[in-house]
Amino acid sequence: MVSIHNLGFGYSKKKPVFEGLNLELQAGNVYGLLGRNGAGKSSLLRNIAGLLTPTSGQCTVNGHTPHLRQPKFLQELFFLPEELHIPPISMKEFVSVYAVFYPNFSQNQLTEYLKEFEVDSSARLTELSLGQKKKALISFALATNTPLLIMDEPTNGLDIPSKSQFRKIIASSITNERVILISTHQVRDLESLIDPIIIMDNREVLLNAGTDVIAEKLSFKTVQQVTNHEKVLYSEHSIRGFGIVIPNEDESYTKVDLELLFNAALEKPQVIKQLFN
């Protein structure tokens, strides 16, 4: 659904944010986009959403070119930024203004999500707490039923029960026609939900793979002692020994530990890139 070839982008000519970036997103998936601060996650999301214009290469979404911002494209996309700018109106008024732009918007779904999240739809949005604001907008975003839904750090500001409700709602709303793309630093919040995983670093995509493919190629283990130093991609000290990432050689599938995977990708970018491309 999203197809990116050789994409280049930068806020100034001297300092490109990414160069020659390639990425393909298939419908029916909840993608998790990971990358350290300043790796260009939000810039990538904004390029896909048409808020920024690439300096080179192509980005297409269902055949549309995002930065042209044609109405046909815009009604197929909802972008929930990390920092929300919301008008001082209630959710009900918000719906009467914005829902018309989305042909598949469902009031029933919105009511259901707001109820699940315990958000008061008659209160003025600007008077809600950060978490409540986020939940109101997440509910609206999901109820638009756009084929492409992009959320930048959606779980920031959510309390513990809300994070669990968020996971349930996302699990229930992904369909075969839809791509949900979530960027996050809170991997623990979304660990069993996001799949495939995309890791960005140093101006490029290091990995874009399903957890089944990752588990086929890499093992994530806790060991008492690190042996096989030449094979271990990454190790870190934990309370129970060492958490390690090592090529999977015995065909057993361990659970993909996203934090270890992320650290391994930053430490051995070339190895990870070769393994998954």
């Binding site: 699990a171 069993s192 799949d195 957890t211 283990k221 361990t254």
Partner: protein, 122 residues
Amino acid sequence: MEFRENQAIYLQIAELICERILLKQWASEDKVPSVRELAVQLEVNPNTVMRTYDFLEQKGIIFTKRGMGFFVSTDAHDKVTEFRREEFLQNELPQFFKAIHLLGIDFSELQNRFEAFKTENY
């Protein structure tokens, strides 16, 4: 559901289902929750649950009726027992042996505790 770190999530979900079948919470010919229902319940990606169902179908533990979803096989109980026994003997027992050897626990103590465990839990 809290997942352990040493095994793929789809296999841990398979284990959960196998346990329900062994405990007869799910009987033969019972309908299995839809992929979406179980994904929402466990807060996991629906594709992961789909992988679990594919895996269990391959093992003959569940089967599909066209347009109606997944059902527990007639001989699911035997199939699960067979599959879990094999898993246990290969993966879990060596760990257990290692621990009792290191700690010098003898079999007669295990026997007593095992009997007490059974009366308490089942």
